[in-house]
Symmetry: C2
Subunit: 337 residues, 2 copies
């Protein structure tokens, strides 16, 4: 069994912990957290060994009545691999800790690409991560773009990608974020940093991206244009995407008009936390005009990278190939059912 | 003096009335309204003659203590031109009334293009409206796109336009509109109807548009891509746009990050109702990648068509050419100052 340490138990970390626990070939050695809060309480209730990410704060956990299994150093030393799910920039600070104990580490998309040996998307470049010490699971938006671009490149060839990313202002729990009643060009400068991030997965891709922020918390929405190398029927693209387990085509008859109903559907289906691990592509939106393909896709920023983290564990440790890993992850989580 | 009747005194009608009053060559003969409300009260206070748009409802105005000058039939009969500013679809119902009295009429962008002889944008096709009986001032979004496309076509040539229109869910007063906390692909099908609407102004234009709706009320935001026929420096495009009175380039030093601060700036500047009649283009966003031009622009849905309605009056009646009319309208309203 692969012993997985999870450093950071917030939006991503807690989901990765649950997903690791669901795998037949890995288990959660422990989770590290900087301070006691509702998430720390839940970790204990779920039976995860809780480690203090900052030694000087151990007493806060004691005062909150939460048992600490040890320090994050011990956790990292004993693990086969660490998933660093700390906030953007903290992963970089933690790198020396992982190096000290020679424990390979996965980082999240908020870290710089040059922190790591490989940026990772399971569908696109699984094998590149084999034996790497430091691997970055790319951001939710880059994951969502990569999953669509990979099959299009392989099947038709891609001349250019242009995408407008209409981003949720913050996650549901991020009560300090905005905007309220506004539409912000964000970043104002074009192209945005999202395109170059996708190029960490496909280094020869021509992609320009534009970002905005709006008063929504549930999902990002991509307005995507891909100029293909050949003219293709929209129906063929739909068939191509239907074969991809991490692309969910929302059928018209479901009458899902936005992320609200989509998340409600996921909750009704009993998915943990209402997570939507797949790209949610509106099937009716998939259209072609000459060589230009267009579509709308919802990207659940809290969860779409979770299966990617699981696959990255196997990729780094070389315990499965892409197809085996993705199939196992999808089956255990209930993706693409 | 051109006698202008305004049928419909809501979001657009009340603004057109004020703008007509500001012109040296026209006056408001009267405004027609279907029911008494705060806007009807204000019309009386401003000294506009108020007409009942529906005869059977005249008593409602009496009961509200509002003096009615007559019926809409009398208003239309006596006017040189009618600006129909009624809700979408009602303009079409009113067409026979205007025909009965042989009064030329302007309609708003919510009406179908085939209702009228000409679809109108002052910058793009002013002369086409001369002597037309039925002219449609295109929608706020189409107006905003046309103002940018016209100079680009004339100067560089346009191969293709791709635009994502992130639309405000409703106007500030439309309390029955949504969404709350969502990003809706709207319409879900691609391309949206906005592209063909722009083609009523430029009939040989290649344009694909995608629409969304978000929880904001202040302005639409366009993510615009124009593939030009030649490679151009972004600085040249900025210079080109700086010469267009109805394109306002938001300079970086103003620190205006979205429509909230932009509207606040317009209010601080003493503009009536905080109206932003110009396209508000973030100057920093104007970028080129090869032949691809990108930019973000805010479109104030309540007001950008107001100067266009004024120019359309002169275009239809042949009392000024495009340059004269636009200059007069801009000066009297304070556009491009």
């Amino acid at each position: 069994m692969i012993q997985v340490a999870i450093n950071g138990y917030g939006t991503i970390g807690k989901r990765v912990a649950d997903a690791v626990r669901a795998q037949p070939d890995m288990e959660v050695l422990g989770v590290a957290k900087t301070r006691p809060n509702f998430e720390a309480e839940t970790a204990i209730e779920k039976g995860f060994a809780l480690y203090a990410a900052i030694e000087e704060r151990e007493h806060l956990f004691d005062e909150a009545g939460l048992d600490i299994a040890g320090s994050v150093d011990e956790l990292v030393a004993d693990a086969d691999i660490v998933v660093d799910a700390t906030p953007s920039g903290i992963g970089a600070e933690n790198k020396s800790l992982y190096e000290e104990y020679e424990t390979p580490a996965l980082y999240q998309g908020g870290e710089d690409a040059d922190l790591v040996d490989v940026s990772f998307n399971a569908r696109s470049n699984f094998e590149d991560a084999t034996d790497a010490d430091h691997v970055r699971v790319v951001s939710c938006n880059t994951t969502g773009l990569s999953r669509v671009i990979a099959p299009l490149r392989e099947t038709y060839g891609v001349e250019k990608v242009r995408a407008t990313l209409v981003r949720r202002g913050g996650d549901p729990g991020q009560t300090d974020r905005g905007p309220i009643n506004d539409i912000l060009p964000n970043p104002v400068t074009i192209p945005s940093h999202h395109g170059p991030d996708v190029e960490t997965i496909f280094d020869d891709l021509d992609i320009d991206t534009l970002g905005m922020k709006v008063p929504a918390t549930q999902m990002h929405m991509h307005s995507l244009n891909v100029t293909l190398e050949e003219e293709v029927d929209a129906a063929d693209v739909r068939d191509l995407f239907a074969d991809e387990s991490r692309l969910f085509l929302i059928p018209e008859h479901m009458a899902i008009d936005g992320s609200g109903k989509l998340k409600e559907y996921a909750l009704d289906a009993g998915r943990p936390r209402g997570d939507v691990w797949e790209n949610a592509i509106w099937e009716e939106s998939i259209s072609t005009v000459g060589r230009d393909l267009y579509l709308f896709q919802g990207i659940h920023q809290e969860s779409d990278v979770v299966p990617e983290n699981i696959d990255a564990v196997r990729a780094v440790l070389g315990t499965a190939d892409a197809e085996e890993s993705i199939e196992t992850t999808d089956e255990t989580l209930g993706i693409g059912l």
